[in-house]
């Protein structure tokens, strides 16, 4: 299990890293996806730019109603951050559910979204949060909504030479309840199905429902049929069940050694109902 030879650079600044990317280098963040692939020689980059030594790329900050999270912020830093726990508990809950402690100590939010594994946890939460991914390249910076960022399996809207600098998530006000619920693969912990829910109650009615789904298909998506079925309702158990049953509507479910497509779809409905009920209880 020895990777192919490569050139290693450890840029000290984002600009230096972008210059290296312009010359064909591939970013290395936590290495929790890239290094296993290099050991199997599924990835054979000629040149790695290690983002680990760029100091101002790992941070969690509050800024006008949002949380700004630097690309190399580890899963553990997110999970244990008092700021994230209080201002964006969905993200903290999701981070705590990724892999195992060692993976969370190294793996980063930027690496996770850039990798776009269809079974990764963060994308479900980021969909429910309608997050923005800030990418920077030699021509400047742009913010990409997560739904267009996640193009397909292992495929994102990043252009060659662009680097993820930051992830932006909203800070929710009072009356919002959230929940991340997943069925984990036994060995790795990746999601067979993962459901992220964010619900807001406005008086009797549910004024906002957001549901992000991962593991089920080629990419994490928003279950808009479920959302629309619940918005404006009061959230009775029967309404929740009916809405949860729409979670895979129009989606082509994956089949693999972990679960067949019909079983995955079944799991998604059950866990959507549970996550919705939990988030609703927390919104009270």
């Amino acid at each position: 299990m020895i990777p192919q030879e490569f050139e290693y650079s450890a840029p000290k600044s984002l600009d230096e890293a972008i210059t290296l990317l312009g010359r064909g280098a591939k970013p290395l963040a936590g290495g929790m996806s890239l290094i296993p692939m290099m050991k199997l020689r599924l990835a054979v980059p000629d040149h790695l730019a290690d983002l680990g030594r760029i100091k101002d790329l790992s941070y969690i900050r509050e800024h006008s109603g949002s949380l700004l999270i630097g690309a190399t912020t580890t899963h553990y830093a997110v999970e244990s951050s008092a700021l994230v726990r209080s201002k964006c508990p969905l993200l903290a809950e999701t981070a705590a559910n990724i892999g195992d402690v060692q993976v969370r100590n190294r793996g980063t939010i930027g690496g996770s979204v850039a990798h776009a594994d269809p079974s990764a946890d963060y994308p479900a939460a980021l969909q429910a949060l309608e997050a923005q991914i800030v990418a920077r390249g030699s021509k400047g910076e742009r913010a990409i909504p997560i739904d267009s960022f996640l193009a397909d399996t292992f495929t994102t809207a990043l252009e060659p030479g662009e680097i993820i600098r930051e992830v932006i998530v909203p800070i929710d006000g009072a009356g919002v309840g959230v929940c991340y619920q997943k069925v984990a693969q036994k060995a790795s912990g990746f999601a067979v199905v993962g459901i992220a829910v964010r619900i807001q109650r406005g008086g009797e009615k549910l004024s906002m429902v957001r549901v992000g789904v991962t593991g089920l298909s080629n990419r994490a998506y928003r279950a808009t049929h479920t959302e629309r079925a619940l918005e404006g309702r009061t959230g009775t158990p029967a309404e929740i069940e009916a809405a949860a049953n729409l979670v895979a509507q129009g989606v082509d479910a994956n089949s693999d050694i972990h679960a067949s497509a019909p079983y995955r779809t079944h799991l998604a409905k059950i866990h959507a109902a549970r996550a919705l009920a939990k988030a609703l209880a927390r919104a009270e």
């Binding site: 299990m1 030879e5 290495g31 290094i35 290690d50 553990y76 060692q102 100590n105 190294r106």
Partner: protein
């Protein structure tokens, strides 16, 4: 040093620290776990160059002045090991649990060793050992 040299190979073959083991080489078993700047990491899933300038502690570095670390003593007393293959990584991961939370529940202990596989003990004695170490430290 070749950039592609994995940290576990550097530790075992260059430095001669054979405490951390190679169990799976696929990032799943945790036998290779070491502490990097106070954080448990799988040394088979890092390049040695990434650890340049960091403080590394392997199982060899836990005992001090001829005395075992509290976690090592607890594993011994509570029979937290049988064949011992997983133990060097398991103890580093267990130490991390108490470093972050001096009085963990059983569920928190099990969550904390999710990245470490043991084929012998069935985990119960490992959980007992972490509880015992927490008690010994005054929790």
């Amino acid at each position: 040093m070749e950039p592609r040299l994995l940290l576990i190979h550097y530790l075992r073959e260059v430095v001669g620290l054979t405490g951390p083991h190679i169990g799976c080489e696929t990032s799943l078993c945790g036998a290779c776990t070491v502490e990097l700047d106070g954080q448990a990491v799988k040394s088979c899933t890092m390049f040695a160059v990434q650890a340049d300038g960091a403080k590394l502690v392997t199982i060899e570095g836990l005992a001090a002045d001829g005395k075992l670390h509290k976690m090592q003593e607890a594993f011994w007393n509570e029979h937290g090991l049988q064949c011992g293959f997983c133990t060097p990584g398991m103890i580093i991961a267990s130490k991390q649990i108490l470093d972050r939370n001096p009085n963990p529940t059983e569920e928190e202990i099990r969550h904390g060793i999710e990245g470490n596989i043991c084929r012998c003990t069935g985990y119960q004695h490992i959980v007992n050992a972490v509880r015992a170490a927490a008690k010994a430290a005054g929790a």
